[in-house]
Every structure is written in C-alpha cells, then in structure tokens.
C-alpha cells in the first residue's frame, strides 16, 4: 500500500484537518480528489475521499444541492457498490452505483479528470490487489510519465508556475562558460560610458574660461580653445571606438548563449518520446527552438545591455552632477523619475492599439493562406466574389485598427518631446535663478543642460526593457519547459552490452496505459528467433502500442519485454534499437540523395553495399531510371517518388542495417498490381532469417506468417496460423470475412 503521507498530498492543505476528523480509528486514506462543479453544474469546489472502507464526500455547506448542512456525506464500500467515471465534452461525471440504482454522482471539468480516474482506479486496486500494480503510465497529451500518486502529468500541470522570471535567471547557467567575455563586455561598457560623459564636462571651462571672458572683453588664451576642442574630439572618437567594440562583444555573447540554448534544446528534443511530438506540436516546437531562442538573443544583446548601460550612465551622470553642484543636481534629477513614469504610462497605453492591429493583420493572412491553396475549390464552386468580399472585410478591419494605432502613435512622439522639454525647463528655471544669485556660472548651466538632455534621449530605449523582459521571460519559460522534461525511456545506469541479438522476443504480462485509459491489459507472447508473426486486430486494438513498446519508444507500465532472455531495459536504448529495423506505412524520406536515404541507419556503408541493398529491395531499377541515379535528391523539395518507390527505399534502408528483428507496418492503401508484386518480393528478401513482426493487412502476408496473433481491446485473444484461426470462427474469422466482403464489393 502506498505510504499515507504521499496520499495526503492529494488532499488540499486546508482540508486535511477536517478529513482527519472524519476518519474512524484505524481507517486508512487510500486516495482523494477534488472536483469543481456541483450537480447543477455551478462552479463549486468539493472533495472526495476514498478510504479502505468508506467513500466520503465533502461539499461546502453553502452549496444548495448539498442535502444536509454539515457538508459531509459517507457511504460504506460494500462489494456491490462501485465507482464509475466518464467524460463527455469538457464535463465529467463520477458515479457511485449500487446494486440497482445510482447512489450519488459528482461532476467536474476536464482538468480534474485525471485525479478522479485515479480514485476510481484506486478502488479497483483495493478490491483486486495486484502484484503488478500500475506503477507508471504515460500522459496522453505529452507522453511524459505521470506522477504515481496523483495521476497528474507534472509537465502538463504547470499552472501558475509560469509567471516567474525564474526562467531568465536560469540563463545564468548558460552565461557562465562565457564569463570572461562578459567581463570584457562590462569593462568596455564602463569605459564607453565614461568617455561619453567627458564632452559636457569640457564645455564647462570652455564657456567659463574662454568664451564668456572673451565676450566681456577680457584677454583670453586661445590655445586653451584648441586644447578643449581636441579633448572633445578625442573623447568622441574614444567613445565611438569603445561603443563599437562593446556592441560587437555583447552581440557575440548573446549569440553564443542563444546558440548553446538552441543546440541543447534540440538535442534534448531528440531524446523525448514520440508522443511528445504528436499532432500539431511540430510548429510550436520548431518555433521554440528557433524564434524563442532568437528572442532571448535579442533581449540579451540589445535590450538588457542597453538598459544596463543606461542605468550605468544615469548613476555616473548623477555622480558627476552632484560633484559639480549638489543643489542644482537635485533640482535637475528630481523630475526625471516622474517623467520616466509618465512616459512609461503613456507608452503602455498607446501600445494597446498594437494588439488588435496585429490580430487583424494575422486574420487577413489567414484568409490568404486559406483561399490561395484552395483556389481550385473556390473556382469550382464559383465563389470568387464571396472570397473577395471576405478578404475586403478583413482588409477593412486592418485599416480600421491601424487607423486607431496611427492616431495614438502620432501622439506619442510629441508627448515625449513635451515631457522632455518640461523637464529641461525645470533645469533652466532653477539654474537661471542660481546664475542670477551668482551661485553658478553659465558654463555649469550649459553642462547641466547637456547632461540632462542626454538622460532624456536614453529614456525611450529604457522603456523597452519592460515589455521585452516580459517577452523574453515567456520565451525562456517555454524553452526550459522542454529542457525540464524527462525522457520517458531512461538509459540504465550500468547498461549491459547487447551486441547482435539472436532475435528471440518474450513479452510477459505487459500492461500499458495512456493516462487513465489502459490500452494493453497484460500481454504474454513468445516469439522465436527467425519467426514471422502477423499482428492482426481491429484499429484501436493496441497493435501500434505493442510495436512501440517492443521498439522501446515507451516502457510498459508493468510486466517486461525480453530479448534473448534479458530485459530490454537493461540495455542502452540506442544499442537496443540498432537491433531493430522498421519499415513504416508511410516511409519518410529525408532531404538528401537516394544513397544517403538508404544509408540513413548506417552512414558508413559503401556504395556497393547500398546498391546491393537497393537491388534486394527491388529499388535498383527505378533508381537507375531517375536522371541522377542514386544521387537524385529526394524528400521534401526534392524529386517526387511514388508511394511504392518510397516503400522500397525504406525496405532497402532496413536491409542495409541487417537487423535481427524486423518490424513491418503494412500499408493499407493498395498500389497497382505490378508494384505490389515488387514490394512483396522485396519484403520476402527482407524477412528471410529475421524475427519479423508485421502489422498485417494483406491476405498474402496473413497466409505466409508462421503465426497470427489477434489483438482485441488490448488483449491477446487468438493465436495460430491463418487456417487454424479460420476454423476457430472467432475474431479473426470475422475480420477476415469483413475484408473479403469488401474486396468482393470492389470487384462487383
């Protein structure tokens, strides 16, 4: 039994004492779950507690559907009482059913489904204790392992943790290897900022000692002018040089960090289970590797750096001003934070227009992306006018939203100027007063004005830091989400060497589940070395899952798979997979030459070996008919090949690695008879002397297999040769008859 402390984690902290108060002495908490709806589907948190003898339900006493006022209801779990949970749409129902009626029911939204099913499963386990209790199962949405106690996927359930800047801080780990470069960048920034502060300082004596005395008719040493001017020029050139180096060094640092991030992310992606890549995630994953890292690079190289140097400059300027004249410095700096804040508010407000404009633009793109590829349909149904109208409508929205954006944006620049001028006005007023009082010189006044004006020019860029930090943090979060994911099939700590296996495969009590749904319920199967097994069964019976387990794309929830009598989890994943060749229903060709594609599993293969494999796969002749033979480029953007041709290339690919175990997923779609014969012949060569597992659809394959294994609803229901199974008149006979009927329909 699970230790009670783990189970208590599933009870919300606030409820733990209340639950403890309800338990009888010696009563053990088995499982618990929350649910968020009452029976009239109003949002209302409730709690269900499963103990070793009772089911307890709690609902807030305020809830009107709650029968008695205390909030607690209990049922004793007699053997005829059972729990059942099912979902429809986004709402699920958990029912407590007795012998002849439903005793009670609770409702929940989809997010609580996993936890609810966990409770149902726990009750089942309580009734029929199993040695091989489900220890792990796979999250149906991302393929990661589920938490054993709560039945929740830790990766998919990361609600609310997302709003932190922790992701950005974690970038430090990637910055560490570049510490020296970063140090250099910092020194350059410091030096550049200092050099930038020199010119206004030199204008002070230029005015006070040269120009103003000269205007007042006093004799002046004009050599000083030359000195000051060359000082000004020198400082400018120095600042330019340093700024140039700094920008370059900083950009390089950012580029290095984001490149490290990219390659780490990509390498990690390769180690994740295939389920993770399922469906429409591809685009999202690609954008994480490319755009998100790029956004971080941008943030590091320009926004963060310029923000830091701005801060540095403000601090240093303030220091300089304070040393020249503390009172004037305070007067000059006081309005600065206020103005920064005002500009920030204005900017934020004006930015809001951007969102709708972006959405309108994207919508217009969608119309284009929708209709241009579908132009044949548009024309066939004579809907050109309607499509033009649709486009015009979204185009009008673009104009309308942009109009609004332009109206506010046009206001922005003048607003900043106004605020800046007002800030400078404060300096003017206070400094003029001080000049009248003879407290400062005109030179000091000009220097102050120059410094303060400089502060204001940096203000615009400083504003960017708010939004760009937020965006970069979100990007970092998305990347670390991938990096934090644990591969679902870990390599063992001390792997056994596998070498070349003989190909005997044994499955013992293999169970597997996606989330709460168990898809394989204990499969026992022995496949001799060199035997050819045909896997048969209706779709959804678990054939592909079984194959995935044999390939070790996942590990079974319980039970074991052995090759040559040793558990496959004892080997390194890659060593083990090297013993398996796969020919898939829809073979994938990478962009590259045909030769490269055939040699994909063994990049060191010689040309002769490649040709031999192609010949054995009956691909040689059609390859030769291509303009560039084996060097013809195929795959996306390359030469297009027919389905049968791709199939034969993938057979050659499998032949070349000469695996002891072969897995074949037969295509259901039919090709023309001649191609079919070629493929059959190629497969014939391929399976010779290998343990072969075929997901079989073709009659010829079914007849040829040494043994057919029939799966139905995750169970192994029949096994035997084609003829034996037909005689049994079971599931296989039914499937076979249905297929024959369909074939006849085709020919009639």
């Amino acid at each position: 039994m699970t230790s009670p402390t783990d189970v208590w984690d599933t009870v919300p902290v606030a409820m733990r004492e209340k639950v403890r108060g309800q338990l009888e002495s010696g009563e053990l908490l088995v499982s618990a779950c929350e649910h968020d709806l009452n029976t009239s589907l109003q949002f209302c948190q409730g709690l269900l507690i499963l103990t070793d003898r009772r089911l307890l339900a709690w609902a807030p006493p305020s809830d009107q559907t709650n029968a008695d006022g205390s909030g607690w209801r209990t049922w004793t779990l007699t053997p005829d009482v059972n729990l059942r949970a099912w979902e429809r749409g986004s709402v699920g129902t958990l029912e407590l059913v007795g012998q002849d009626s439903r005793l009670c029911h609770w409702r929940y939204t989809a997010g609580y489904a996993a936890a609810v099913h966990r409770v149902v499963q726990k009750l089942q386990e309580l009734r029929t204790p199993r040695e091989d209790r489900l220890t792990t199962s796979i999250c149906p949405s991302c393929g990661g392992p589920l938490d054993a106690t709560t039945g929740v996927c830790p990766a998919c359930d990361s609600v609310a943790k997302t709003r932190t800047f922790a992701g950005l801080l974690r970038l430090v780990a990637f910055a560490r290897p570049r510490a020296r470069l970063i140090g250099l960048g910092f020194l350059l920034t410091l030096a550049g900022t200092t050099a930038g502060l020199v010119p206004p300082y030199l204008t002070m004596p230029l005015l006070d000692r040269v120009l103003i005395p000269h205007q007042n008719g006093q004799p002046v040493d004009f050599n000083l002018v030359v000195w000051y001017l060359s000082g000004l020029a020198g400082a400018a050139v120095l600042a330019w040089l340093l700024e140039w180096r700094r920008a370059f060094v900083m950009a390089r640092i950012a580029e290095y960090i984001s490149a490290d991030l990219r390659s780490r992310t990509y390498a990690h992606l390769q180690s994740l289970s295939i389920e993770f890549f399922g469906g429409k995630r591809t685009g999202d994953l690609m954008s994480r590797v490319s755009s998100d890292t790029d956004r971080i690079c941008n943030f590091l190289s320009s926004h963060l750096v310029s923000f830091c140097s701005d801060i540095l400059m403000i601090v240093m300027t303030a220091a300089v001003l304070l040393t020249i004249d503390p009172w004037l410095a305070l007067a000059a700096l006081c309005p600065f934070p206020l103005i920064i804040w005002l500009v920030h508010v204005a900017r934020k407000r004006l930015y809001r227009g951007y969102g709708p404009a972006g959405v309108a633009w994207a919508e217009m793109h969608n119309v284009l992306a929708d209709t241009i590829p579908g132009i044949r349909v548009v024309k066939a149904f004579a809907q050109e006018d309607r499509e033009v109208e649709r486009f015009d409508a979204s185009n009008d929205r673009v104009v309308a939203t942009n109009d609004r954006v332009n109206r506010v944006w046009a206001l922005f620049a003048p607003t900043v100027t106004l605020l800046t001028t007002l800030g400078l006005l404060v300096v003017w007023a206070f400094a003029s007063w001080q000049v009248f009082q003879n407290l400062i010189t005109v030179g000091v006044l000009t220097a102050f004005l120059a410094y303060v004006a400089r502060l204001y020019t940096r203000m615009e860029s400083m504003m960017y830091i708010f939004s760009s930090t937020q965006r970069a943090a979100a990007s970092a979060q998305r990347i670390f989400e991938i990096l934090d994911r644990v591969p679902s099939v870990p390599d063992p700590v001390n792997p056994l060497p596998i070498g070349r296996a003989s190909g005997e495969i044994t499955l013992e009590g293999v169970r597997f589940s996606y989330g709460s749904r168990e898809v394989l319920h204990g499969i026992d199967l022995r496949i001799g070395a060199g035997e050819m097994i045909g896997l048969v069964g209706p779709s959804g019976a678990g054939k592909s899952t079984l194959i995935n387990l044999i390939c070790r794309f996942y590990d079974p929830a319980s039970g074991s798979i052995q090759i040559d009598g040793r558990d496959i989890r004892a080997f390194k994943v890659n060593d083990y997979r090297r013993n398996i060749g796969m020919v898939l229903q829809e073979p994938f060709l990478f962009f590259g030459t045909i030769a490269d594609n055939i040699a994909y599993g063994r990049p060191g293969a010689t040309r002769a070996e490649i040709v031999a494999a192609a010949r054995a796969a009956r691909a040689h002749e059609f390859i030769l008919r291509l303009p560039e033979g084996y060097d013809s480029v195929v795959g996306e953007r390359g030469q297009s090949l027919s389905g049968g041709e791709r199939q034969r290339i993938s057979i050659a690919r499998a032949l070349l690695i000469d695996p002891p175990v072969l897995i074949l997923d037969e295509a259901t779609s039919s090709v023309d008879t001649e191609t079919e014969r070629d493929i059959q012949a190629a497969i014939e060569t391929l399976i010779r002397g290998r343990t072969t597992i075929v997901i079989a659809h073709r009659l010829s394959t079914l007849r040829r297999a040494d043994r057919l294994v029939v799966l139905d609803h995750g169970q192994l229901v029949e096994s035997g040769t084609h003829n034996q199974l037909l005689d049994q008149a079971g599931v296989y006979a039914r499937l076979h008859k249905a297929q024959m009927d369909m074939l006849q329909d085709h020919f009639v």
């Binding site: 968020d36 709806l37 589907l41 109003q42 949002f43 209302c44 429809r88 749409g89 986004s90 709402v91 029912e95 059913v97 002849d100 009626s101 439903r102 029911h105 939204t109 989809a110 997010g111 609600v159 609310a160 997302t162 709003r163 809001r352 969102g355 709708p356 959405v359 937020q470 965006r471 979100a474």
Partner: protein
C-alpha cells in the same frame, strides 16, 4: 457514415417521432425506437451548437452511432422534448462569462479569474488562438483543458475587461 445509416433516422420531422425518451433509475437516458427496442445510455448532440443550437439534434448511442434525428424539438411531444432538453442542458457546459476579474499576464499562458453564470472560477489560457470571435459580438474562450466559456456580449464589459479582450479579438 454510410448512406444507409443516415437515411434511417431521417424520418419526416413533422410527423410524430418514431421514438421516445425517458430516464431510468440509474439516471441514464433511454431511447425506445420505433420497433420498441430500448437503447440505454444514449446521448444527445447538437449539430450546430453555435450557429443554430435549437435545431438539428441527434440522439446517439454510447459508441456514437446515430439513433434518431430531431430536426425541430418544438414538434416533439412534451414529455420527450423535456427529456431531450434536460439532457442537452445537463451535458452542455459552456459557462457565460459575466465579468473578467483579472488576467495574470499579457503573454500566454495566462491565468484568468472570471465571474460566470455558474459561479466564479479560474482557468488557464494556453494560447491566443483559443479566443475566438463569434457572430453577433460574442466570443468563445477555450481553456487549457478544453472547457469552453462564452462571452455573450463583448460590448457589455467595462473598459478594463474590454481592453484585455481587445488584445485577442
């Protein structure tokens, strides 16, 4: 679906329906078809839940096979219609958002705190694509778990909420 399947339930909607509905003691909906056969645990499905929710309702068995088609529930006998409407109401769960209390951030994923006609709740929005404008100033939000929330009237919001939604629509 083969033509045979869809042809069978397409009875003339104006005539008396060839089936009846009732709940059994287990709380399951039971359909009795024209031949008197009972189908236990049937489900009601709207064909156009957004554009024309009140017409075109299918009754399917638990594996999704269509057993009956109701073009217009108003033409059904009262007891059958009430059962049908009750089941639809019970199974349809689309809370109406009355007020947006807060949204945690301007970038997704964000946490939304909303007041709905079914009480207050929090949900998580995974991507901006999950907010969709519907006809007639309505909008639909689908949260990370697939629960849908309907915004009945975009104009009915205060300016803060309108500004939040503006980003998505």
């Amino acid at each position: 679906m083969t033509p045979v399947d869809s042809a069978k339930p397409a009875t003339d909607p104006a005539s008396t329906p060839m089936f009846s509905l009732h709940y059994d003691g287990w709380g399951r909906l039971v359909l009795t078809d024209a031949s008197g056969l009972m189908h236990v645990g049937v489900e009601t499905v709207r064909s156009f839940p957004l554009s024309d929710p009140n017409r075109g309702i299918a009754v399917c068995d638990s594996s999704g096979r269509e057993l009956a088609w109701v073009e217009d529930p108003a033409l059904l006998p009262d007891n059958v219609r009430l059962c049908l409407e009750d089941d639809l109401a019970r199974r349809e769960f689309v809370p109406l958002v009355l007020r947006i209390v807060s949204v945690s951030a301007s970038t997704e994923p964000s946490e939304w705190d909303v007041e709905t006609d079914r009480g207050r709740t929090r949900f998580r929005l995974k991507s901006e694509d999950d907010v969709r404008r519907l006809s007639g100033d309505r909008a639909m939000i689908t949260d990370a778990n697939g629960v849908r929330y309907l915004i009945p009237n975009l104009r009915g919001f205060n300016s803060a909420a309108a500004r939040i939604l503006e980003r998505y629509l």
